[in-house]
């Protein structure tokens, strides 16, 4: 927001101007903004306010709710549901790390090694979106079926023994375990990691790799010292785009998990739509929002990419 050169601020109107002062012209941006901003204020900001107010209400569906500044709801919510909160962070965090590990090679491949296949590969990354994500998530029930080839292979390779020991799976099952939920989350949000990564990798001048090689960097040093640092904006926005929706998701936990893998999204959903305990649901949702905002702000600050927006 510097006032230097570029777009000049309004001149302090000396000497009588012959051109009509354009009062109408000056209002143009506000007219353009009005509908969109109004929409967001009424249907995004106002709901937040209502939610905050609901979270400190008491009462019941029959008698109605009333604001009583009952902050105990928050305390109870945390006391009752901290495992779900913790699980949300853990699952979403693992999924984000997995997305980064899986997505980076593919983004790199498309950006630097795909040649004339680049567009085809990009289409293939986006293509799954065209099938409803619920249908695709249900397909994982088939893939991870108890007696299916995937579980069989993992069992034969003793991978399941390791994951069981880590508490990620139970016995020779994958479905209805934390591993299945993380796997589903990773799958669902992978494109949100790949696309920003690709965008920032694609901007890197290929000659930088040659220059690094020319200056005695081995391929792995080139990657660590040149490519990866330059792709940081993509890494940051990719991790945010993965972590935020994953932490609030309840579809994967519901379809692929069990009652032991419930995340905070599941709790909010049940409280709101089944139990109809609006204050608790609102408090939980509010806490989730606050936690996410704090984490995102901290993360953006730390990674020094505040111009991300």
């Amino acid at each position: 927001m510097t006032a230097v050169a570029g777009a000049p601020p309004e001149a302090p109107a000396p000497a009588p101007r012959k051109r009509p002062p354009g009062r109408r012209g000056r209002l143009v941006p506000y007219w353009l903004l009005l509908p969109g901003i109004l929409w967001l204020l009424v249907f995004f900001v106002m709901p937040m306010v209502y939610q905050a107010s609901t979270s400190v209400q008491t009462g019941s569906l029959e008698e109605g709710f009333e604001v009583t500044w009952h902050f105990r709801t928050y305390w109870d919510a945390v006391a009752d549901y901290w495992p779900q909160f913790l699980r949300s962070v853990l699952y979403a965090g693992s999924a984000t790390v997995l997305c980064l590990l899986l997505g980076y090679p593919l983004a790199y491949l498309i950006a630097f090694r795909a040649g004339r296949w680049r567009n085809v590969l990009l289409v293939l990354v986006i293509a799954p979106f065209f099938t409803s994500f619920l249908i695709r998530t249900l397909a994982w029930k088939t893939i991870l079926a108890d007696s299916g080839p995937v579980v069989g292979a993992l069992g034969a390779l003793h991978v399941l023994d390791v994951t069981s020991w880590l508490g990620m799976t139970a016995g020779d099952r994958v479905l209805a375990t934390p591993l299945a939920v993380v796997c589903g989350l990773t799958y669902n949000f992978l494109p949100f990691m790949i696309l920003p990564l690709y965008t920032s990798l694609e901007r890197i001048d290929g000659r930088l790799h040659e220059a690094a090689g020319d200056l005695y960097a081995t391929p792995s040093e080139t990657f660590r010292k040149v490519t990866f640092p330059l792709s940081m904006p993509g890494v940051v926005s990719g991790t945010l785009l993965t972590f935020i929706p994953a932490s609030g998701d309840y579809v994967n936990a519901d379809l692929l998990g069990s009652t032991d893998t419930r995340m905070i999204g599941n709790v909010v959903q049940t409280q709101f739509l089944r139990i109809l305990d609006y204050p608790t649901a609102a408090a939980l949702s509010f806490l989730l929002m606050a936690a996410i905002l704090v984490m995102v702000t901290f993360y953006i600050r730390r990674s020094g990419t505040e111009d991300l927006v």
Binding site: A3, V4, A5, P8, P9, A11, P14, A15, K18, R19
Partner: protein, 387 residues
């Protein structure tokens, strides 16, 4: 000079400020109809702002713009009989060459544009490319489309904002001649903004040298070159050797000055500064006016010439000429260009030499100015242009 004729561009007291920054100081300027006028200066000197105020793309903070006696200050750009060739052309990427050129005609409600556009494209030798998109053209072709797109509207004035800046050197030379030819052919007033002094001097009838929001000097190219009135003009237009000197006598047609123990003369008429005996003055001389003689032959230098002694520190052979840098007591980096007619093998770095020139080729400037004004900016811009 000229009174208001049909297509004169007159700027009266025009100025532009952005907040506390003054881009253009109050300026009076008349561009006579049919002339090729250049606004020359380094980037940020206010030349483009001035041009944009003529185009109507920038609203002057004060003052008026009139075209052919009509005040157009209040008119928006689309109502002014003025067209612009933009820097980097601003060709519409979604329209082909034909539609780009036809754009102005169509906006003015002219239905049958085919013949006119065809003729205009032939004029700029782009008849074959009519259905191409701008990004499929070379830089020179894009430039010609931009010119055609503006000229087809028969504007009273054509404004050119660094139109050749994006072209390589050779193409630039070619387009300079081309633009000059077109201007002579159509007879429209051209106002040309550039930072390239050679370009301004080659093409324009009149050059206004701008610096820090003001016009430093205005005149025909040869006049500006021979008689600069400020150090900025002396350094920005070509190269000048400036010697800090003290005035000894200031009577009659000649000024006699003294610098580092050497007595030099310059015509009083060519001194832009008030000079009185005992005062300081800058004596200037262009590098190509100077002759070099080895110190051994010093006695063969004709009498009546200004002479300075020094030692050659560097020489670069350029084919037509050789450029020497000479270290003199009066001026540590004296530049001398010597035509390669008979090359004297004794003129090598380290050699003691006498520099001498006709006193009539000296000019005088006010010593209160920055002696290096315009030096670095010119150099920096040249680098930018070379890229």
């Amino acid at each position: 000079m000229t009174t208001d004729r049909g297509g004169d561009v007159r700027l009266s007291g025009i100025s532009k400020t952005y907040g506390s920054f003054t881009a253009v100081h109050p300026l009076d300027l008349t561009v006579p109809q049919g002339s090729f006028f250049a606004l020359l200066g380094a980037s940020g000197c206010g030349k483009t702002t001035t041009l944009r105020m003529i185009a109507g793309l920038e609203e002057p903070t004060a003052g008026t713009v009139s075209l052919g006696g009509r005040d157009v200050t209040a008119l928006p750009p689309y109502k002014r009989p003025v067209n612009t060739v933009f820097q980097s052309y601003a060709l519409f990427p979604h329209l082909d060459v034909f539609e780009n050129v036809a754009f102005g005609l169509r906006r003015r409600g002219i239905k049958s544009v085919k013949k006119q556009v065809g003729e205009m494209l032939d004029l700029v030798q782009l008849g074959e490319q009519a259905r191409r998109k701008p990004h499929q053209l070379s830089g020179g072709q894009q430039q010609r489309v931009a010119v055609a797109r503006a000229l087809i509207n028969h504007p009273e004035v054509l404004l050119l904002d660094e139109p050749l800046g994006a072209l390589d050197l050779k193409l630039r030379r070619q387009m300079q001649l081309e633009l000059k030819r077109i201007q002579t052919e159509v007879g429209i007033t051209f106002v040309h903004v550039t930072h390239d002094q050679e370009e301004a001097m080659t093409m324009a009838d009149t050059v206004a040298v701008m610096n820090a929001g003001r016009v430093e000097q205005l005149g025909a190219p040869a006049d500006l070159y021979e008689n600069p009135r400020t150090t900025f003009v002396a350094n920005f237009l070509g190269t000048s050797n400036l010697i800090e000197a003290k005035v000894e006598t200031a009577s009659g047609d000649d000024l006699v000055v003294e610098a580092a123990g050497q007595r030099l003369t310059l015509p009083a008429a060519r001194c832009a500064a008030p000079a009185a005996a005992g005062g300081a003055v800058l004596l200037g001389v262009r590098p190509e006016k100077i002759s070099l003689t080895p110190a051994d032959d010093a006695d063969r230098v004709p009498a009546g010439r200004n002479r300075v002694t020094g030692r050659i520190t560097a020489g670069s052979f350029l084919g037509v000429s050789t450029q020497y840098v000479v270290d003199c007591p009066a001026c540590p980096e004296f530049e001398v260009y010597v035509q390669n007619i008979d090359r004297d093998p004794r003129l090598v770095p380290g050699a003691e030499v006498v520099l001498h020139w006709d006193p009539a080729h000296s000019f005088g400037l006010d010593a209160a100015q920055d002696i290096d004004a315009g030096v670095e900016t010119a150099g920096a811009d040249e680098e930018v242009a070379a890229r």
